[in-house]
């Protein structure tokens, strides 16, 4: 009689549990699970409980976020395409997405120094809360060119007369999308240091959004540099995907950086090394081996001067990161919100010994030195988590000549983070990268699981017929890992069969 009860009400459950166990190929587990399950089936308990915990754990831990449009709020007090976002939020909620990521721009909020207009962002936060989603806020202290979101006007104005607040390359060209890390503690902003200004911004944010903190807002990313990432703007123009670019340029030529370099050189007893950056580094788009600095063998990077310069250059970046993250964790430490910082995936030229792209970006990571140790250690010190973009990139799809390896670099950084017990959250670079979704899945569900992933980014392309279905598919597949479609009960016959296979004598004994 019991068996008939099972058949009529819960064949599908049985087959599913059984399959979970078949995957584990442990007979004892199988019996145990089957038995437990059968008992439950008789009592008609919910399905979910009957899952064997090991099999579906990844599903419970995984949290998927989707980035909102960069210009969701662009003039301080109104939400752009609110209706579209509203519809989008509903769709995401129905899909089972955990939350959304909202970029909050310095240039939108702080139009006058010390005066903050949060109204547009508050409106978005309310929409998100209403939709029952979580919110991850990215505080952006940089500017965006596409869509155009500049730095605050008053900052730009200061920059016009005082260009040394921006990074400069060897030719003296300024990068005006974010402030140079060398001015962090200089009172260049109308008598205040940038750190003080960032602090005021964060504190105002915290007070204003306190009703959402910990409930709706679960995470905050601290903007650390160009595109929010902890790096130097070693490429002034973002590289187009699929094209081979050079290794970028060192950005140590603004007055303040040069001052720091000079001090450091003098302190190290090599004052002559402090007069400028490496003279033999190639320019932005030149192949790294076109000049002697990055040469694979005998390049200056391996010389004592190279070590001197790269140590200083990279340590300045880490100190900058430390300043901002300690600021963030001191402000948000008493809330239930996690603080994150983004570390770039400078994957081109990874297969060379010198790793030029990483070096110019400020990561002293070469074939002989793990440059991410210092970075991970700094994140650990501030109890912050790392966001790694580029989880959608696979080696296979990189131009062959670029000697690039996003997968190896990602693995290296993740291993280093594990060592320092820094949690890693994932992000993709852009939807539509070839093989991107497969790669993301691989990264999220593989051995080394990621529990938070932010998918970039909501907008026309995201919802377009060529993209959205694949995203839907992606979300569904995430929550259903490792189950081959053939394994799922598809019709009555199959399910009944499963029942029979699982009709172990033990079950009869137990349930009778």
């Amino acid at each position: 009689m019991e068996v008939s009860v099972i058949r009529s009400s819960s064949q599908a459950k049985i087959s599913k549990t059984e399959l979970g166990c078949r995957d584990l190929s442990q007979i004892s587990r199988f019996r145990k699970a089957g038995l437990r399950f059968t008992l439950k089936a008789v009592h008609s308990d919910p399905v979910l409980e009957s899952k064997s915990p090991a099999t579906f754990k990844s599903l419970d831990r995984l949290r998927l976020f989707v980035g909102l449009p960069l210009d969701a709020v662009s003039d301080g007090n109104s939400v752009n395409h609110a209706r579209a976002i509203g519809a989008g939020l509903k769709a995401l909620k129905l899909l089972g997405v955990e939350g959304v990521e909202l970029p909050v721009w310095w240039g939108v909020v702080e139009n006058e120094m010390g005066k903050y207009d949060w109204s547009g962002y508050l409106a978005v936060a309310e929409m998100v809360q209403k939709a029952g989603l979580k919110l991850h806020v990215s505080l952006c202290f940089h500017a965006s060119s596409q869509p155009r979101i500049p730095l605050p006007k008053w900052v730009t104005k200061i920059g016009e007369s005082q260009s040394s607040i921006f990074f400069a390359d060897r030719s003296g060209q300024h990068y005006q999308q974010c402030l140079s890390l060398a001015v962090d503690n200089l009172a260049v902003l109308d008598g205040k240091t940038p750190i003080q200004v960032y602090q005021g911004f964060c504190e105002s944010f915290k007070t204003t959004f306190s009703p959402f903190m910990g409930s709706t807002i679960t995470g905050i990313s601290m903007g650390l540099g160009p595109d929010g990432e902890l790096r130097y703007p070693s490429h002034h123009k973002p590289a187009k995907s699929g094209t081979i670019t050079g290794g970028g340029e060192f950005q140590c030529y603004d007055t303040n950086m040069l001052n720091l370099l000079k001090q450091y050189a003098e302190a190290n007893g090599n004052p002559l090394w402090g007069l400028g950056g490496p003279h033999d580094a190639p320019t932005y788009d030149q192949a790294p081996n076109s000049n002697s600095f990055f040469k694979d063998h005998g390049g200056s990077w391996e010389s004592p001067y190279g070590d001197f310069f790269l140590s200083w250059y990279s340590s300045e970046l880490v100190s900058h990161g430390n300043r901002l993250l300690s600021l963030a964790s001191s402000i948000f430490g008493d809330t239930e919100v996690n603080v994150y910082g983004k570390v770039p995936l400078m994957h081109s030229w990874y297969k060379t010994r010198a790793h030029p792209s990483e070096l110019t970006a400020g990561f002293y990571n070469t074939a002989s030195r793990n440059g991410y140790e210092a970075v991970a250690e700094m994140f650990a010190r501030n109890s912050c988590k790392i966001i790694l973009p580029g989880m959608d990139l696979s080696d296979e799809h990189q131009p062959h000549d670029a000697l690039s390896s996003p997968e190896s670099l990602l693995a290296q950084i993740r291993t280093t983070c594990n060592k320092h017990r820094v949690e890693v959250a994932g992000q993709n670079l852009a939807p539509g990268a070839p093989g991107g979704i497969e790669q993301i899945k691989k990264n999220m569900l593989g051995e080394n699981k990621i529990d938070l992933f932010t998918y970039q980014r909501m907008g026309a392309h995201f919802f377009s017929p060529e993209h959205f279905p694949s995203f839907t598919e992606f979300v569904r597949s995430l929550s259903q890992p490792e189950l081959h479609p053939d394994d799922l009960p598809s019709d009555e016959a199959e399910a009944t069969e499963s029942v029979q296979t699982s009709s172990d004598p033990n079950i009869h004994l137990q349930t009778a």
Partner: protein
């Protein structure tokens, strides 16, 4: 028997305060709510207001008297420790009348058909006529004179006319159709549509038919005329949520005897008649159920007051429970009056009407040890009202808590429960979406839910997509960027071809008649090419139920009335040889079925694409589709294809690819694209990679008091929106320009040819590269003449479109007519001066009797009887062409 459930409060916080549907028999109870909301302020206790929903809880927390509870409770109400108001939604049937009257109009010469309806709603009469000698069941559009003002033509076979109230006080919404009985019209056909609910009213699953001549074959759906009331006796079929209730079927016998005496008299003698029917519409109505619990200080018993504004007899089906498990038990007596025990499980109490207002209620006195009070409501039409698919639950323990505190704690518990409720739903959805919930017994049910959720997700995504999309390409501005590129883009895109295309419509409405059109056209190929055309649009090639080809059946059968597939290939080959690209006319919106379904409705397809009714949209009652709702307007004469179905899209893409390969078509003319979302068109175009594509998005222009509005921005916006939805992969026929040319030329109002910003007022003014300008086609002109270009002014029209930006299309009938040489000259001026689809227009004159413009500084033109000469000066204008009321100059 329907169980009516209540929506989640959290999702609909406004539900409480919004007066529901306009059909409200009783004043909405929300009035009470708003009154209540003010009260707590006086107490000032634990007021936390995040949203309106919370404030209601505050009502509960306070102990002030409220209107509802006050009715019960004359004693002190301080001991009320629980109050709640549950909004409930139920379906109410509203009855009204619906009549059809045929009589002579006032002048005693013409006749008049009046259709009226007394129910509120946005009623539309969807109608057409059939002519004498017509065979089959297709409708035709009635002659213009017959169409009441406000009518909108729906394609070429029907008219939609709204029903209006003649004056404010009138009960009936009416529409009157005047007609001349001596005309060729055999019958008027119609269905009634309620735009508010999207419901259709039909007659026995068919159209209503009012025969105007009496020898029509009776299909069983005839109304009135010679047959008296008899035809009404059958049940009128229910569609959607609407019931058309038959008055009385027992009238049958009686009616049969009434059957008209002159039924054998076969002359055209019309008889007036008047038919009246009751009509029932289901409207969702919001009501409230309020519950208050207090403890009687004298007896120590708990008293539950329940009250509602639901009209009619309301029976409370109730019990109590001991614990959270909420297992129903019957409490000890006494019970309220009118209480019966139901199957030893529950009690049933009929609510007693209250003296004041339209409420009813009851008092339940219970011992205090009970944990909770459970109930559901049964209405007099056997409808059960539940709370979120569960029993209503009122906690009874709580007498010990201090009222103020109680309120607060209650808010939290309520929050938790509603949170867990939403979480529950979300979990459920997640399981559904991820396919984890596979409880076999629920499988079919959950599958439906899952599909509907996925569908909803898809719709939301589509909505978000279209908004994001349109906010990226700010279309009206696009002109600026496009005109900036003074050098024509050499890049070929499916929306524009090379940008220098001139299109020839290679057929008219009669072309099918010879049976060898392809061969006839083949002989003209080199002639067409020599006139300067670069693209030709061929008639729809598929097997079709109608000879013209627009009712396709088997898409892979290309033997049509225009010729065989072999002849078609031969024609395409000859056209290619003379350098003409070929557009296939593809009908993607609808398709005629091969077979009937079990209900006798034609919606099962055959041939290579043997789709079933899942390929048919669900919202056209004629065809009982099982697909999703249409993403556009419906074409009512054939099953509309549901493009949201993956398999449909896949098959159509394959088909288009096959046409490209097999026949050699270079591009498409897309029929009736109003019928489905432009995003799907984009999908098809990207898959079939045409050289050129143009869509027919044809709806009516705006008229005020019968006169066309000067500003047709909303009309062209709709066309632009469609182009936008295709992502610019297709152009669209510039219906707006044609309409404006009609008025300008016909009425000598040439000022209409400039919009507020001094640009051309049609689509060509906003998105020139995607506008395919035309003055006539097989529908508007030819032998159909649905919207014929003002006679004798065709050359002014061509002087306009052939000198202006956009891609001009010339109609076959005009090419092979006395206009031929003038058209050829205009085309050669266009080509000589390199005018292209993005050329820059400067309007120099737009006055009553003359319009003049200079295009790309190279060509000047004027139309209209008024005077214009281009400025004499360095440019050196010389007259290139001259005709009746038009002149064209070029620079020398």
């Amino acid at each position: 028997m329907a169980a009516v459930t209540i929506d989640s409060l959290l999702q609909n916080p406004t539900l409480l305060f919004r007066p529901k549907a306009k059909v409200m028999l009783k004043p909405p109870r929300s009035l009470d709510c708003s009154r209540n909301r003010k009260l707590p302020l006086s107490r000032g206790s634990c007021f936390c207001s995040f949203n309106p929903r919370r404030t209601i809880h505050v009502v509960r927390a306070s102990s002030s008297e409220t209107a509802l509870i006050g009715n019960f409770d004359t004693s002190s109400s301080d001991d009320i420790f629980y109050k709640d108001i549950f909004p409930v939604k139920r379906i109410e049937k509203v009855e009204g009348k619906f009549f059809i009257r045929l009589d002579r109009s006032k002048d005693q010469h013409d006749w008049q058909l009046t259709v009226g309806c007394s129910l509120p709603g946005k009623w539309i009469l969807h109608w057409g006529v059939s002519y004498l000698g017509d065979s089959g069941s297709e409708w035709d559009q009635p002659p213009k004179g017959m169409r009441p003002p406000g009518s909108i033509p729906i394609k070429d076979y029907a008219i939609e006319t709204p029903l209006k109230k003649l004056s404010e006080g009138d009960i009936f919404h009416e529409v009157k159709i005047d007609f001349n009985p001596s005309s060729e019209i055999a019958a008027i056909h119609f269905v009634l549509k309620d735009e508010e609910t999207g419901a259709w009213y039909q007659h026995r699953g068919m159209d209503f038919k009012v025969p105007l001549v009496d020898y029509l074959e009776d299909d069983g759906n005839t109304v009135g005329a010679k047959r008296g009331f008899g035809v009404w006796s059958g049940a009128l079929q229910q569609f959607s949520n609407v019931l058309l209730k038959s008055e009385a079927s027992h009238a049958d016998s009686q009616n049969n005897s009434i059957e008209s005496k002159d039924s054998k008299n076969k002359n055209r003698c019309l008889e007036g008649f008047y038919e009246e029917q009751s009509i029932v519409k289901e409207v969702s109505v919001g009501n409230l159920v309020s519950v208050a619990v207090r403890k009687s200080p004298e007896t120590g018993k708990v008293i539950v007051c329940l009250e509602t504004d639901i009209p009619g007899d309301v029976v409370v089906h109730w019990g109590v429970c001991r614990d959270d498990a909420k297992i129903w038990e019957i409490p000890a007596a006494p019970y309220p009056p009118e209480t019966t025990v139901f199957k030893n499980k529950a009690l049933r109490t009929l609510l007693q009407p209250k003296a004041t207002g339209n409420r009813s209620g009851a008092l339940f006195t219970l011992d205090e040890e009970h944990f909770g009070f459970l109930f559901v409501l049964k209405l007099d039409d056997n409808t059960w009202l539940k709370f979120k698919e569960n029993d209503f639950y009122v906690p009874l323990l709580g007498t010990s808590s201090v009222p103020g505190q109680y309120g607060q704690s209650d808010i939290t518990t309520e929050e938790i429960s509603s949170k867990s409720y939403t979480d529950g739903i979300i979990n459920e959805i997640r399981n559904l979406v991820s396919g984890l919930s596979s409880e076999k017994s629920q499988k079919t049910k959950t599958k439906e839910v899952q599909e509907s959720i996925l569908q909803e997700i898809e719709q939301l995504a589509a909505e978000a997509y279209s908004i994001f999309r349109s906010s990226i390409t700010t279309v009206p501005e696009e002109v600026v960027s496009e005109t900036e590129t003074t050098k024509p883009a050499v890049k070929i895109s499916s929306g524009t071809g090379t940008g220098f295309e001139i299109l020839c419509q290679g057929f008219n409405w009669e072309s099918h008649k010879s049976g060898r059109w392809y061969m006839e056209l083949k002989e003209k190929a080199s002639e067409i090419s020599s006139l300067g055309f670069t693209v030709i649009w061929l008639p729809p090639p598929t097997e079709s139920v109608s000879p013209e080809g627009y009712m396709p059946k088997d898409l892979y059968n290309l033997n049509s009335r225009y010729g065989t597939i072999a002849e078609l290939k031969e024609l395409v080959k000859s056209l290619h040889e003379v350098g003409i690209k070929v557009l296939g006319d593809v009908v993607l919106n609808h398709r005629c079925a091969h077979f009937k379904n079990q209900n006798g409705v034609w919606n099962i397809f055959g041939g290579r694409l043997n789709w079933d009714d899942r390929a048919v949209v669900a919202d056209d009652p004629h065809f009982q589709g099982r697909g999703n709702k249409s993403s556009g307007d419906n074409f009512h004469a054939a099953p509309n294809i549901d493009h949201s179905q993956e398999f449909v899209r896949k098959d159509l893409k394959e088909w288009l690819g096959w046409l490209r390969e097999e026949i050699g078509y270079d591009g498409w003319r897309l029929d009736f694209v109003r019928g489905f979302w432009g995003g799907y068109v984009k999908d098809y175009l990207e898959a079939s990679e045409p050289y050129f594509a143009v869509g027919e998005y044809w709806d009516s222009l705006s008229y005020t008091y019968g006169e066309m509005d000067h500003n047709q921005d909303s009309h062209r916006q709709r066309i632009v929106d469609w182009i936008n939805a295709t992502n610019g992969t297709a152009g669209a026929f510039d219906v707006t320009t044609k309409g404006i040319l009609h008025s300008a030329l016909e009425r000598c109002e040439y000022w209409r040819l400039s919009d507020k910003k001094g640009k051309p007022p049609g689509v060509v003014g906003w998105w020139p590269s995607r506008a395919v300008t035309f003055i006539e086609n097989h529908d508007t002109g030819s032998t159909q003449g649905h919207w014929r270009f003002p006679g004798g002014k065709e050359m002014q029209g061509y002087a306009y479109i052939l000198t202006h930006p956009g891609t001009p299309a010339v109609f076959y009938d005009h090419i092979f007519s006395h206009h031929r040489s003038e058209i050829a000259n205009l085309i050669s001026v266009r080509n000589r001066n390199g005018i292209h689809c993005r050329s820059l227009v400067k309007i120099v004159k737009a006055e009553r009797d003359v319009y003049a413009a200079i295009i790309d500084e190279k060509v000047a033109m004027k139309i209209g009887p008024g005077y214009y000469e281009p400025p004499s000066g360095s440019q050196g204008w010389s007259l290139a062409l001259e005709g009746r009321d038009y002149k064209v100059w070029e620079t020398s």
